[in-house]
Amino acid sequence: MPSRDTSPLMSIVVVVYDMKQQAMNTLRSLQTDYQQRVAASDYEVIVVENDSASTLNPEEISKLNGNFHHLLRQDTSKTPVHACNEALELCRGQYIGMIIDGACMLTPGVLGWAKSAYAMSEHSLCMVPGYHLGNKEQQNQPDSYSSDTEQKWLSSVRWQEDGYRLFKNAHFSPGNKHGYFHPFMECSCFFASRAHFDRINGVDERFTQLGGGSINLHLLRSLGYNSDIIPVVLAGEGNFHQVHGGVTTTPTTDREKRIKNFSDELNSHWNGQFHALRRDPIILGNIRPQSLPWLKHSSHRASDRSTLLKQKRKPLWADDETLRIEPKP
């Protein structure tokens, strides 16, 4: 495990369970020679894996470029919340990135811009827009679309040479399906300061349903619904979910029922009033040509939303109003 002598600025937590191939891609996307504008000394990656029949190979991890630390845990609870909290204990960085689903690989600018977001303000909640690989949400893909299909496509585009090629075959994920100028319901890769994670006592261990249920949604809102927090969106970057038989992204017969249970649990913790994070975000970063269509889509949907809310005489960013944050644009 990492020594605490020379702490990096950032710690990135990656939670893994039974997704060896996908998680290795995610870890490759966190390597120093893939991520731009960061040095190895800027960050560490804490990989916490709950034991399964298909675990990561520690030797393979040790060959990655960067400071990777792998912890294999025995946990039969089916939820990642305990793994998250154990990882948070190990983090030495001041700014913590959380990838609660280890199947989400990143574009090459994420860590550099996250570092900039923290330089801008220690209160930055830095969110990386989420995409599903493939031309539609993965739960809506036909049976012919499989993990093998996806991995073959990834190999064919040589994504490690230019990670922005991931935008070529992607679809906004359901957690931010209207684009990043809409309130974020969920974000599969975000960064907040150690102090802000401590303020909410880490990851809520009451979320014990399969895969943690809606823990990721709860965590984002718990962090973001705070007047100190400055929401930042890395508009030109993305986290890309790979098919791996996940709880909500696999088209199973009981998916709807399962999601309803998750939603009920979530609402029970928010007095029946859970909402996406209705905070006006700051954008930060460069916009590569490959991400322009997504920016255009996001801005169109933002205009549609604005028109609708004006008609209903409702505020654009209700949480900013409730938190009495000075109106930003």
Binding site: G109, A119, M120, I283, L284, N286, S299, S303
Partner: protein, 359 residues
């Protein structure tokens, strides 16, 4: 070193004579700026953020000449009553006015805020470059924002995000996109009767200054930003840079002694952005909005404007050896996108998508 640079900034002007201009082959004026539709393939580099957080960070230098009505609006848009999320101790505003028959009142400027300073200068040349260089010398902030045309009012987040950019990089060059009030460029709109009265009606229609972001509703992108946010800008009329770099570059080039400074601002923008250390930022959710005031390039008709533009282009070519070409450095985008700016963001993405060369 600093004294030497100051001396350089204040030394007498050397007049330049434009070379003979070639005849136009394309209907464009000779030495018209070249169109640049794409950024370079190099990614933005990032250095360390600015370290000291306790000193005065930002000085805004505003140049005024013969435009009190417009300048007072611009000054209000720079006040803490209008700018959001900042206090008087965060920045200073240095107003440099070249004397005319129509000056601002010092007491009125000072009453806007404790952070406002006013200087009235006697200028013998028709250019703002000496006034601007004087303002840069007077600036106490580590970071200076030059507004060479006092007729450009701002959106309410400009000061906050100028400061934010500087926190991200101590080598930040910040370009605030430029707009013209009105639905057409003012040099065209005036031919159809656009004037100060019509402009005031527009401002009244959005109840300015109650919500400064509503300026987007009654404006269009100005000529040097017309390609949108995802193509290189030609200049910025609200241009932030580290004071030390401005001093090292000698500020605005004193040879730009044409009326209004000719292409002095474009030239400075290019030199700042192309400096090897510079990190370019664009604030796509903010803007500087030009008010109609009979300016050299935005408020003159037909032959008078064309003659001025011809002289500006020729002078640039004389000084730099060819037509102006916008810098192609890729910017970092920063800040929130207000509702009104979404249409400009969307259009910018559309424009860039259609022509952008893949890297």
């Amino acid at each position: 070193m600093i004294n030497k640079i100051k001396q350089l900034l204040s030394s007498p002007v050397q007049n330049t004579t434009p070379t003979n201009t070639p005849p136009s082959q394309t209907g464009k004026l000779p030495f018209s700026p070249e169109a640049t539709k794409s950024f370079s393939s190099s990614l933005p580099t990032l250095d360390n953020p600015s370290e000291s957080r306790d000193k005065l960070k930002l000085s805004i230098v505003l140049i005024v000449f013969d435009m009190p009505a417009q300048a007072y609006k611009t000054l209000h848009s720079l006040s803490v009553q209008y700018q959001r999320g900042v206090s008087e101790s965060d920045y200073e505003v240095i107003v440099i006015e070249n004397r005319s028959s129509n000056n601002l009142q010092e007491s009125k400027v000072s009453s806007i805020g404790k952070n406002f300073k006013y200087f009235l200068r006697d200028e013998t040349e028709p250019t703002p470059v000496h006034a601007a260089n004087f303002g840069i010398q007077e600036a106490r902030g580590e970071f200076v924002t030059l507004m060479i045309d006092g007729a450009r009012m701002l959106t309410p987040g400009v000061v906050q995000y100028l400061l934010a950019a500087y926190r991200v990089s101590k080598h930040a060059i910040v370009a605030v996109p430029g707009y013209h009030l009105g639905h057409k460029l003012q040099q065209k709109a005036m031919l159809e009767g656009y004037n100060k009265e019509e402009e005031q009606t527009l401002l009244d229609s959005i109840k300015w200054p109650n919500d400064g972001y509503r300026l987007f509703e009654v404006s269009c992108l100005s000529g040097t930003s017309a390609g949108g946010f995802f193509r290189p800008f030609g200049e910025s009329n609200c241009l932030g840079a580290p004071r030390q770099l401005l001093l090292e570059l000698g500020g605005l080039d004193k040879r730009f002694n044409e009326t209004g400074g000719g292409q002095a601002n474009l030239d400075l923008y290019k030199r700042l952005v192309e400096h090897s250390d510079s990190v370019l930022f664009c604030l796509p959710g903010e803007g500087s909005f030009h008010q109609f005031h009979g300016g050299v390039t935005t408020g003159q008709k037909g032959e008078i404007r064309e003659e001025a533009m011809r002289a500006h282009f020729a002078q640039y070519a004389t000084i730099r050896g060819g037509a102006y070409k916008p810098p192609q450095k890729r910017p970092i985008y920063l800040g929130p996108i207000p509702d009104g700016a979404m249409k400009f963001l969307s259009k910018s993405a559309q424009q860039a998508e259609t022509t952008h060369a893949q890297p």
